[in-house]
Symmetry: C2
Subunit: 247 residues, 2 copies
DNA sequence: TCAATAGTGTCTATTAGACAATATACT
DNA sequence: AGTATATTGTCTAATAGACACTATTGA
């Protein structure tokens, strides 16, 4: 019994015959200047490289000598492009097929990452070939491969999760204040939120820990917070009231 | 500008040097006899095949000659194992690394599928090598590869989505009734739901279309429904009241 | 003391769930 | 009629959001 299966893969029991290309791509988001931005690189203008000069999500081939797991590989791409080591990183999905890369059947593992914006006083550690682009503007460009589709999926995932999780907190450097966090939510959601309801929601979710007071440019100083557990966001019991909800 | 990247992949610009193995696995769920079940196959007991005789999720190598996309490949695996062509199929995630397959660095694309149970009067189209196993029982077995981890993730995803989407409707053959649908929710959630609240929720979500009346073994006949749009589940404005919610 | 921002209090419309009542099918 | 199930109605507790108010900082 249970031998029939091998007949479905004649002469290919170890998948050696023809293997797809395997890559990892990362959609890295931050919020700067009240705008949701994504990191784009430019494809090399070199013979044999597809989509020369086109903007693309950072990524590349899995290196089976260096990368122990897919997650490792995504972390490596992230570090190469942003210098950041421990931000929020989540799998987005995979895109694979015969046509998406002119070099052959390829499958990419897409991730999405949230990072705090580079502080004004420090140099942006992103390499010169990379640039932060407003997310909507990036979507309206013609990106390499099927990266428009991947970026659209990443944006959709982010916007969906912002409605009912603490994800946007990963877009801020610690310590941050509740008004700062609210601003981030508003930027990603594209609409304003009520201050009182927002605070109740965040504090009731119990994912923040108080640090010292933080004074801004003017006005009353605010309570500083850090994320209690950076391994995952928390889920709110209900989403924010969506504008499109029926009356 | 923008040429630096190739230095990160010396002599590997087309990823030809060493490519990972690429597979697709599918966690196929159904509800039978008030139990959430998953379809398992047995690994072939053949020289060179890893994990001989072990239970595993259905899956196998991507065939770049037959499969146009990853989605195609998942559909093919599904059809081979269940005979079903158009159920609910969603990407779950990917697992890849040097150690998960003794044959070499491999990456699998995991999907999860929901199918209605085979009708009592028809023969189960699943091949003899496959068997339906209660999901919890399957998890407690030692599955091939990292399939315990994948199955656990699939179960977690399913149970999470049941709280706030119409997903379980894809576990029923059409037409189905609201009491039948409620039973499915209860089986997957592992707790009972209030009849009135359940109906309001389902009907307000407006994803069902009435068909004729359906009579059961006894008692009043029920309204039959079908899913209005099978391409995706709908999201409820709030999750079910979770038992663990604070008072 | 004023401007600016942070933080709190109160009220209300909405609604999910509890539970009771009613409707319909079959014997 | 009686039993079993489907369907509807009513009530209530919980709460998200609206909005007004108070608190604290620095100039």
């Amino acid at each position: 019994m249970a031998v029939r299966k091998s007949a479905a893969n004649p002469g290919n029991s170890a998948g050696v015959t023809e293997r797809p290309l395997v890559t990892v791509d990362v959609a890295i988001f931050t919020v700067r200047d009240d705008s949701l931005q994504v990191l784009l690189v430019h494809r090399p203008s070199v013979a044999g490289e597809p989509y020369p000069g086109r903007p693309a999500l950072p990524g590349g081939f899995v290196d089976i000598r260096r990368d122990t797991t897919l997650h490792d590989c995504a972390l490596r791409k992230l570090k190469e492009k942003t210098g950041l080591a421990a931000p929020y990183l989540e799998q987005l999905g995979s895109w694979g097929g015969a046509k998406r890369d002119p070099r052959g059947w390829s499958a990419t593992h897409a991730w999405f990452a949230l990072v705090p914006p580079p502080a004004d006083d420090e140099v942006d550690p992103a390499p010169a070939e990379a640039e932060w682009v407003d997310a909507e503007a990036a979507l309206s460009r013609r990106l390499a491969f099927d990266h428009n589709e991947i970026l659209a999926a990443a944006l959709a995932r982010l916007r969906a999760k912002v409605e009912y999780t603490s994800l946007p907190a990963f877009l801020l450097a610690e310590p941050f204040t509740l008004p700062q966090l609210q601003r981030i939510y508003e930027v990603v959601l594209g609409r304003e939120l009520d201050k009182s309801a927002f605070r109740k929601r965040m504090l009731d979710a119990d994912f923040l820990r108080e640090t010292g007071a933080v004074s801004g440019a003017s006005g009353r100083a605010a309570q500083g917070y850090r994320i209690a557990d950076r391994s995952a966001p928390v889920y709110f019991p209900r989403p924010f009231k969506s504008g499109e909800q029926l009356a």
